[in-house]
Amino acid sequence: MENRPLEYDYTVAKWFMFAAIALGIVGMTIGVFIAFELAFPSLNLVFGQGLAEYTNFSRLRPLHTDAVAFGFTVSGIFATWYYVGQRVLKVSMAESKFLMFIGKLQFVLYILTVVAIVVSLFMGYTTSKEYAEFEWPVDIAIVVIWVLWGVSIFGLIGIRREKSLYISVWYYIATFLGVAMLYLFNNMEIPTYFASGGHGDWFHSVSAYAGTNDATVQWWYGHNAVAFVFTVPIIAMIYYFLPKESGQAIYSYKLSLLSFWGLMFVYLWCGGHHLLFSTVPDWIQTMGSVFSIVLILPSWGSAINMLLTLKGEWQQVASSPLIKFLLLASTFYMFSTLEGPVQAVKSVNAIAHFTDWIPGHVHDGTLGWVGFMIIASALHMTPRIFKREIYSKGLMTAQFWIQTLGIVFYFTSMWIAGITQGMMWRSHDEYGNLAYSFMDTVNVLHPYYTLRGIGGFLFLTGLFMWAYNIIKSASARPVEESELQSASPMGA
């Protein structure tokens, strides 16, 4: 270690990046599988009656949602934090043994917890709260991991050279605080074994809230999981990676500050739109709808800011596959933040709720926005982490088109399916008898479910191309002399 110039240390970022790749592949393979299960129910039994318990839709669905949300997405968030955080604060992890240790510890605990989650969900242990299925021992582990991340964020901020915090850092901090608050409140649970003096399994628990209160808290959490896992940290990524990759300053830094506070304020009031027409008090429902509409403004504020950042540089979209990913990500963000508020209008929700339109909405957000941003971020980081060129630009372009096609298949099929379903459920004859039975809708939807499965398969194919490209880049190409400036160098 003689006199080497100080460099950023990406060890932890690299580990989390590989975790994101692995968990993305696992989660989306399950996603494709369950998509085909819906189209071809016999797949539930594909490994025979004996294993059906583990391969049926209801057992696998939470594994899909948790693997992609808390595996793929959260690893992506951690990976980019450990990369972006150092850079915009201009301080290296190598400068602090303590922070290095915390980062590594966080990673190890994270992986152990992932294993615990996969095993427990496979075995069918769940609190049956969506996106919060884990039983209390796992919840405690998650809190520890989160606290370690907090130590890491504030530790790095504590030793920074750059006095002001770049907008991305604000968003990472908001992610940290937001999730901490939401997670704690929603997972208030009572371990039944200890509370009842030794009855039942030791890891089992029941929610501290009952009935409608439970639902309200759950969707306050659920909606803000969307906010603080699928939106806020992803905006942190785009505010760094898009300007950096294109070499353009953010179009308006002031607008980014304004949208930040707008988003923070508005998001927290929207949970009610998941519970329209339920037993939740009417004013909560109305408030959810109204705030959802207002939410378009700060959302589009960030997205338009990103599009305008490319002002005068549109040739980059044609020439660089990475810019294509980034551009489409912000476009899909605008798309799903327009679709969401539309679905939150009560009269629309009356048709949309419980139908396939909702998973359609979910996946143009998650595939187009979250997925593309994590993919693009990793592709931007790879040459810098490994000091090597990207293995193949052609592969990236191909991946982009295949995945975009996959997303289009996914949401178009779900729109048609969802609206058809909604209309069929409510249509009736002049005496009020329902016009269709449930089976009628299932038969009509079959082709769209198949299309969705194909779309998902295309997206998954692209994911494998992404993994291959990164692994090849890490191992195959010659080492670059020095760290790179804006645009990523790309082999042909």
């Binding site: 850079r87 201009k90 750059e162 830094y253 002031k254 500050l257």
Partner: protein, 65 residues
């Protein structure tokens, strides 16, 4: 009663929002006289040897330039 609270809250929020916008656009600068738009450079010039946009006082000596 709810109606008054609602209108009142609206008024307060609108004032806060516009106050913040005016604040951002008239001042254009933070307390140290730095133009907000300069902050974008934190991402663009983010090598460890680049000059910080606004250095933390006691760390600036450690820089190369």
């Amino acid at each position: 009663m709810q109606g008054y609270a609602y209108v009142g809250a609206m008024g307060v929020l609108i004032v806060v929002l516009y106050a913040y916008i005016t604040h951002l656009y008239t001042k254009k600068k933070n307390a140290d006289g730095l133009d907000y738009e300069k902050y974008s450079d934190m991402a663009l010039n983010d090598d460890i040897s680049d000059v910080p946009v606004a250095p933390v006082a006691d760390k600036s000596d450690g820089k190369k330039k």
